[in-house]
Symmetry: C2
Subunit: 390 residues, 2 copies
């Protein structure tokens, strides 16, 4: 029997608004059809959060059709029908002989669809920053008369400004991230294996907050002494020791949207050095949020942070964050010196102030915030403290 | 201070064996230097399992150097020094100005390194199936005299045959996967939210088994009625109901290696239809494992399964599995009709018999197995039963 439509994260007009924004950008670029294969953009334009694993999928946006067409491996089509806002006729599963086939893959039926759509001689947008070189070659070979326009990041830039509905979902995700941090403060204790502490934290991120479950798990990192100068280690096989420091980065997830947060934990009394860095960073965080307003730039925000911590005798050599939304990092606005992107209401950022000062010493602090009409609103609300677990 | 070397998943000779195999393949292909950017291959050749997020990284294997060189964003270098087998001089962090830079990215310092290595006029292997089209263009533009050879899947094919040490790690991962399934059988109950059941299952996968913690979480899917005809939905916001069916796919992880398993759960007595499919599939699984031996082909294994279930009146339209190892699926040997890859000892597969029969009805069963000197050894050991939770 046919699968039913599942509950939708957003109402249909929200998706049509997004598709209309993409079409306006296509018009600006003179593109007749756009092939979207970046998985975050696929979620944004369809509502589908199911994963296809390693098999190709693409959303085709064309000027003549109100809804996009979503093409994927046949066995993934029922999930797309169930989760997406699309009419079932707009979900096309390709047959299994494109899997494990050295001659063909799932982009061949995508190209066949484009031929049928009548755009083979027209202007075709591709995400060349996301498509593999092999696949881009295939498009050129099988559509030799198409004018290929690189539309990498075109949809990602549209994603930077969220609707109020998206902000509400990110607020739910932020509450889950906060719950993860507060659970960490409960379970990090001397003698506990890191894996067992993380088990509790990850379970909390799945259970969610305020009656809203996490809908997925995002990356989570547990970097303990002597690994506090690293940022992307999941966790180790060590047992938590008295005197250890632990830097945690995690995210809550709702319907594909992530809100991220970082906090630092000291098992026992923190060292003076760690405390000084913490005080500098909290002051820097407040300075950065204080300059956020529509019209300020990403560079302004980063430099407010850098100036403040330098007054405290602390330096940070990495950027201060990035746009965030579907599946964590957006590859667009960057909170760093020289990024002149102007802030606009309902842009959302991960103000990521992790500071890896030496190979074996670092500190973690961050908030996910949105730009309001006049300033910044932190979505993550955990105490901005150095968690001393004594 | 410098970060210390962490405990290594494998001894140095194991990594040098892998690098030597890659060099032999490079010689066969006439390649002077190979740029490996596929994250699974990076883990395979270095031991590093830390994630870099969205920033470029590459391992460069060249004939003149015993160890590869690992190039990544500077802030990720301490984790690579800590986790990998490489001498610290072989870990190169590039500066932060390559991040969030519209003109350059982390592949620019990789290209600079190749120029310094003296291979700019020579034969250069790239993984064009993993590199984006934009990045491949950059290599061509900045190394116009290099002869670029597509080495996509070259390392992946080397990965197909595991060492005994790798098998031991996969056995540990399989025990964790089994623990996840047995935990699912305990927590799936009417009235429980799916997210709460998954929280327990995911926590079990982190805690691990036999004193060996999970070192990461792999994908996990909880597809419940009416979603049993789908395969890649994480979980839903529903509450588990009496009479529901739930198909679970999950993996245990040790040091980057995954062992995967699928089982089907019925909340209450299973329907006759589900029971008939289950009996056919278990018989098919046994038939498939019975034909596994060195010299048999992937196609033989798949067809043994298809023939047996068809005798039971059941058909499956998708392939029967794939090579598995670092980070789940390997894009090489495929258990499907027509794949003439010959089985060899210590190849490992996910015999994936998930069968999505209608849009709203499917069934899940799988094992991770290795090819032995004379047959098959299942690494996952959960009972091959339809779990009826009454």
């Amino acid at each position: 029997m046919e699968i039913s439509k599942g509950p939708q994260a957003f109402p249909r007009p929200e998706y049509l608004r997004r598709v209309a924004a993409v079409k306006a950008e296509m018009t600006r670029r003179g593109v007749d059809a756009l092939v979207v294969n970046n998985s975050r953009n696929v979620t944004y334009l369809t509502g589908c959060t199911a994963r296809t694993g390693i098999t190709p999928q693409a959303v085709v946006v064309s000027m003549g059709n109100e809804e996009p067409t979503f093409i994927m491996r046949g066995l993934d089509a029922p999930a797309a029908i169930h989760q997406s806002f699309l009419d079932r006729g707009r979900v096309i599963g390709y047959p299994e002989h494109f899997i494990g086939n050295p001659e063909k893959d799932g982009f061949d039926p995508v190209i066949e669809f484009l031929h049928e759509l009548g755009v083979a001689n027209r202007s075709l947008g591709l995400e060349l920053g996301d498509l593999s070189a092999q696949t881009a070659e295939k498009f050129k070979r099988r559509m030799p008369k198409a004018k290929i326009v690189d539309c990498s990041k075109a949809v990602a830039w549209i994603r930077t400004i969220k609707s109020d509905l998206e902000i509400e979902v990110m607020r739910e995700a932020a509450a889950i991230a906060d719950a993860g941090i507060m659970r960490a403060a409960e379970v990090i204790r001397p003698g506990v294996r890191e894996a067992d502490a993380m088990a509790e934290i990850l379970a909390t991120l799945a259970r969610g907050a305020n009656g809203k479950p996490g809908t997925d798990l995002a990356n989570a990192f547990f970097c303990s002494s002597p690994r506090t100068g690293t940022c992307h280690i999941r966790w180790s096989e060590d047992i938590i020791r008295e005197g250890s420091q632990i830097n945690i980065e995690l995210g809550g997830v709702r319907h594909g949207y992530v809100a991220a947060i970082m906090r630092t934990f000291s098992v026992g009394i923190a060292s003076d050095r760690l405390r000084r860095v913490h005080e500098a960073e909290v002051a820097g965080l407040e300075s950065a949020l204080n300059v956020v307003r529509p019209g300020a730039t990403c560079s302004d925000v980063a430099n407010a942070f850098y100036r403040t911590i330098e007054k405290h005798g602390v330096k940070k050599h990495t950027r201060c964050g990035y746009a965030i939304g579907v599946d964590w990092t957006e590859p667009t606005a960057s909170l760093q010196d020289g990024d002149m992107t102007e802030l606009k209401p309902n842009m959302t950022f991960h103000l990521m102030l992790g500071n890896w000062i030496e190979e074996d010493f670092g500190y973690a602090l961050s908030e996910t915030f949105r730009v309001t009409g006049s300033g910044a609103e932190a979505l993550t609300l955990s105490p901005r403290k150095l968690f001393e677990l004594t």
